[in-house]
């Protein structure tokens, strides 16, 4: 039995034997009470500084880490299917922190990339996976993906998008349609990668798989350690058997494990400080309980349906820095934009959010969430390229520089956060034959880029090496 199998079985056993707790009690009493007590104990209440949305205080980040470490050991994760808590011992957590690899190789051959743990203000380029699981029409899937991965310098890993139908049939989650879709999506991705000349590019999961069926359907086609499974846990600090199925699938097919759990401002974890603390704890718990190679957890604001407002920026900055400064865990951190394709709002949100993640020490991101991921075909390669350009260019900036830029860019979009512009569909603003944005979108890109460079964002770092639209 492998060490990984042994660890996962230990967690699974605890899902049957751990302390009993109902989901409702967990959500409404255990989580809020424990988090609020921990914030108070460490003097972290009301530390959210919306005037300085990117944290520059190392001591504060370290306090969040200490409190999050304690929280992880104290609370564990609830398995909702058995309503039992999976707790961990401190030596297990220390084992995770000591022995988890600080870098892993994804993909194969000339298309392989190295994913590394990063520190705040790290000059090393982080990686970008694209796109998130935004739904696109079946007939557009291959050209959109081909466009997304066009620039090797900008997009490193293929994650999505999701597909609207399978052979013209509507996909219903948890049914054989979804199982069939798992394999089909991977076939389409392969075709797109081949067309783009990047056949060895790493794949993460099956983007359209919303239950274990879709993942299981596609796993055999993306087996091996160059590819990554994806297991997303329920909010807050919970897991379930669907997640365990995906982990077992990764073991069976020798894949890397990316597992995540989100923390919501306004949700069970409460204020921005509570969400940040929960986010630190979930990174530590998932790496241990689910033995992930890297985590994908982030803070989200339920009032804004995204994480580009001041509170979420601050919470993400402090949570990412807390773990980056004190561990060598690799973490994927997602920005949830709400503006749609071909809007300045999307470009500003992505710029501020990704700059924040980059300077705070994220290893990787998965992008974009154009128009909040709400509309079919509201995804173009252009958003992916922009995200890659910004995320990578910001490597090496100081947090102070980033914070000053964020303070200037936020007023350009924050009033629209509760009512963001939908933007345009791929058919309306991108030429999939020429693989170029429409003239309107290109002008918008160049204008925003110039504006942000004027504010000090070092975008030339990537731009000069890539034949981007000019």
């Amino acid at each position: 039995m492998s060490l990984r199998t042994e660890k996962i079985l230990r967690s699974l056993d605890r899902a049957y034997t751990g302390p009993v707790c109902s989901v409702k009690d967990w959500d409404t009493r255990v989580i809020p009470n424990t988090i609020m007590a921990k914030l108070k104990q460490y003097g972290l209440e009301k530390t959210c500084d919306t005037e300085n949305p990117i944290n520059c205080d190392d001591e504060l980040a370290d306090q969040f880490y200490k409190a999050g470490y304690e929280l992880a050991l104290e609370i564990g994760m609830l398995n909702v299917d058995t309503e039992r808590i999976i707790k961990i011992e401190e030596d297990e957590l220390l084992d995770t922190l000591r022995h988890k690899p600080a870098e892993i190789t994804l993909g194969s051959g000339a298309d392989s990339v190295v994913l590394k743990a990063r520190k705040p203000e790290d000059p090393a380029f982080p990686l970008l996976a694209a796109s998130l699981g935004i739904v696109v029409s079946e007939e557009l899937y291959v050209p959109i993906v081909e466009g997304i991965v066009k620039y090797r310098e900008l997009v490193d890993v293929l994650h999505g998008p999701s597909i609207a139908t399978v052979y013209g049939r509507q996909i219903r989650s948890g049914t054989p349609y979804e199982t069939l879709m798992g394999r089909y999506e991977i076939e389409l991705r392969r075709e797109a990668l081949w067309r783009a000349g990047r056949p060895g590019m790493a794949n993460t999961g099956v983007a359209g798989a919303v239950t274990q069926y879709g993942h299981l359907g596609g796993a055999a086609s993306i087996s091996g350690p160059g590819n990554v499974t994806m297991a997303l846990c329920p909010v807050e600090l919970k897991t379930n058997f669907s997640v365990f199925h995906r982990i077992m699938m990764a073991i069976n097919y020798d894949m890397r494990i990316r597992a995540g759990g989100f923390s919501y401002i306004g949700g069970y974890a409460g204020p921005p400080e509570g969400a940040a603390l929960a986010n630190v704890a979930v990174d530590l718990l998932i790496a241990t309980i689910l033995d992930s190679d890297y985590t994908s957890s982030y803070v989200y604001d339920i009032h804004l349906l995204g994480n580009c407002g001041r509170k979420a920026l601050w919470a993400n900055s402090v949570a990412i820095q807390a773990v980056s400064r004190n561990t060598r865990l690799i973490r994927n951190k997602i920005v949830n934009e709400t503006g749609g394709p071909c809007t300045d709002m999307f470009m500003y949100e992505a710029a501020v959010g990704l700059m924040n993640h980059c300077v705070s020490g994220a290893s990787k991101t998965t992008q974009p969430r154009s128009a909040g991921g709400k509309f079919t075909d509201y995804l173009t390669p252009m958003e992916c390229w922009w995200c890659g350009e910004v995320f990578k260019s910001c490597a090496g900036m100081t947090r102070q520089q980033a914070n000053e830029i964020a303070k200037q860019v936020l007023p350009k979009y924050e009033e629209q956060l509760k009512n963001p512009p939908k933007g345009k569909s791929v058919q309306e603003c991108f030429d999939l034959k020429e693989m170029r944005p429409s003239p309107e979108y290109q002008k918008l890109y160049l204008d925003v880029r110039k504006e942000l460079m004027g504010l000090g964002m070092p975008l030339d770092k990537i731009y000069n090496n890539v034949a981007l639209p000019r």
Binding site: I171, G266, P271, L305, K422
Partner: protein
């Protein structure tokens, strides 16, 4: 005396204290305060406070849920007196069966809507996640509800929202229930396509939609849906 009791009832809701809320509700009845007044001027005011605090980012989802629980306990305690007053609160504000449809285990959006509905005075029955279409209808029939709410975060579970309304129609029950749909990928266009009665972009919008539907008094399934939609800018 009366003002003090109503204030205590309000405070019990704000404190999410179920036991205290029930105790004060009994005191209200013993003091001769009409049940409807106790609910509207006491417990209801407490819900207003919690709702406003949530909107302002000063209260969080657990408080919304627990305040809703306290309100439900008060309604249970005062239900008999309300019926005797012949001015049932549920008839005035609506009884809602809400859940996340099949194949989807996401619950936070649904929980927020359920809690906001509860703190807005609706009687809410949350039937959980991964709920089969006919289970929505079965529960609504069992409870005598007048609104069914179906949520999903997944495009691949959206067809199940259509199945609920189709099941209602095929069962000859469409005219009994206002049917409201919501969730991340759910749009106004989808709500119209499946012939839902309402859709809101945010949780607060969903509450407003339910209020408008109940107030309209129209027969479900016979009118243009009430939609508060995503800005098209």
């Amino acid at each position: 005396m009366k003002e003090k009791i109503l204030e205590s009832l309000r405070d019990a809701i704000v404190d999410c204290d179920v036991d205290q809320a029930v105790k004060v509700a009994r005191q209200a009845l013993a003091a001769g305060i009409p049940a409807l007044e106790a609910i509207q001027q006491g417990a209801g005011k407490g819900l207003d406070v919690i709702g406003a605090r949530f909107s302002a980012g000063e209260a969080y989802l657990p408080e919304l849920i627990l305040a809703g629980d306290a309100m439900k306990a008060v309604l249970d305690e005062l239900g008999k007196a309300l019926a005797e007053e012949n001015r049932g609160l549920s008839a005035a504000l609506g009884k809602v069966v809400i859940g996340t449809v099949s194949g989807d285990i996401h619950d936070i959006g649904k929980n927020i809507v359920a809690a906001l509905l509860a703190v807005s005075g609706f009687e809410v029955y949350d039937i959980g996640i991964d709920v089969e279409p006919k289970a929505f209808v079965k529960k609504a029939e069992e409870l005598g509800a007048n609104i069914i709410g179906a949520s999903t975060l997944l495009t691949t579970s959206m067809p199940y929202q259509q199945d609920v309304v189709q099941y209602l129609a095929d069962s000859g029950l469409r005219s009994k229930y206002y049917y409201v749909v919501g969730g991340g990928p759910v749009t106004a266009g989808w709500a119209r396509k499946i012939k839902a009665d309402g859709h809101g972009y945010t949780a607060a919008d969903a509450v407003e939609v339910c209020k408008r539907l109940v107030k309209s008094g129209q027969t479900p399934g016979t009118f243009e849906p009430v939609i508060i939609e995503y800005h098209q800018g």
